[in-house]
Symmetry: C2
Subunit: 83 residues, 2 copies
């Protein structure tokens, strides 16, 4: 068995309200920044999986992302191995 | 002026308590998963910057990350351009 480190990025789906992103955009004028737009804020989950192969580890990560880490109604996720 | 899309990853620093990561780890047994460990949860911020050059855009992103997006006492950030 080997250990694989993965990152799961969970972002609000397009069209879904993103209050954290709006809050950041609302703060920009107070910082004198007028060149930043389309702020979206999601979660970054890093985890270690023990498995025989990377593809086996990825299967576990994908199941966790679907069942635990993201709400599929409002969030989309991507998973990538971290080297 | 051109538009550049960046991603800022904000993660709890090593040694800093990560209650969300602990909560996920605590849920794993109920999903029958015993091969996942070292879960760390942070934020992923995506934003668009209007600037003359990518390096100019990166300077703005780095200032925002330092001043607004991350708490430097407990969080570390990295920024990368999204193609």
């Amino acid at each position: 068995m080997a250990e694989f480190r993965f990152c799961v990025s969970v972002m609000p789906k397009p069209g879904i309200l993103d209050p954290q992103g709006r809050a950041v955009e609302g703060s920009l004028p107070y910082l004198g920044v007028d060149s930043v737009s389309s702020v979206r804020i999601g979660r970054r989950v890093e985890l270690t999986v023990e498995a025989a192969t990377e593809s086996g580890a990825r299967t576990i990560v994908e199941r966790l992302a679907d069942d635990l880490l993201a709400n599929p109604l409002i969030e989309a996720w991507t998973a990538e191995a971290i080297v």
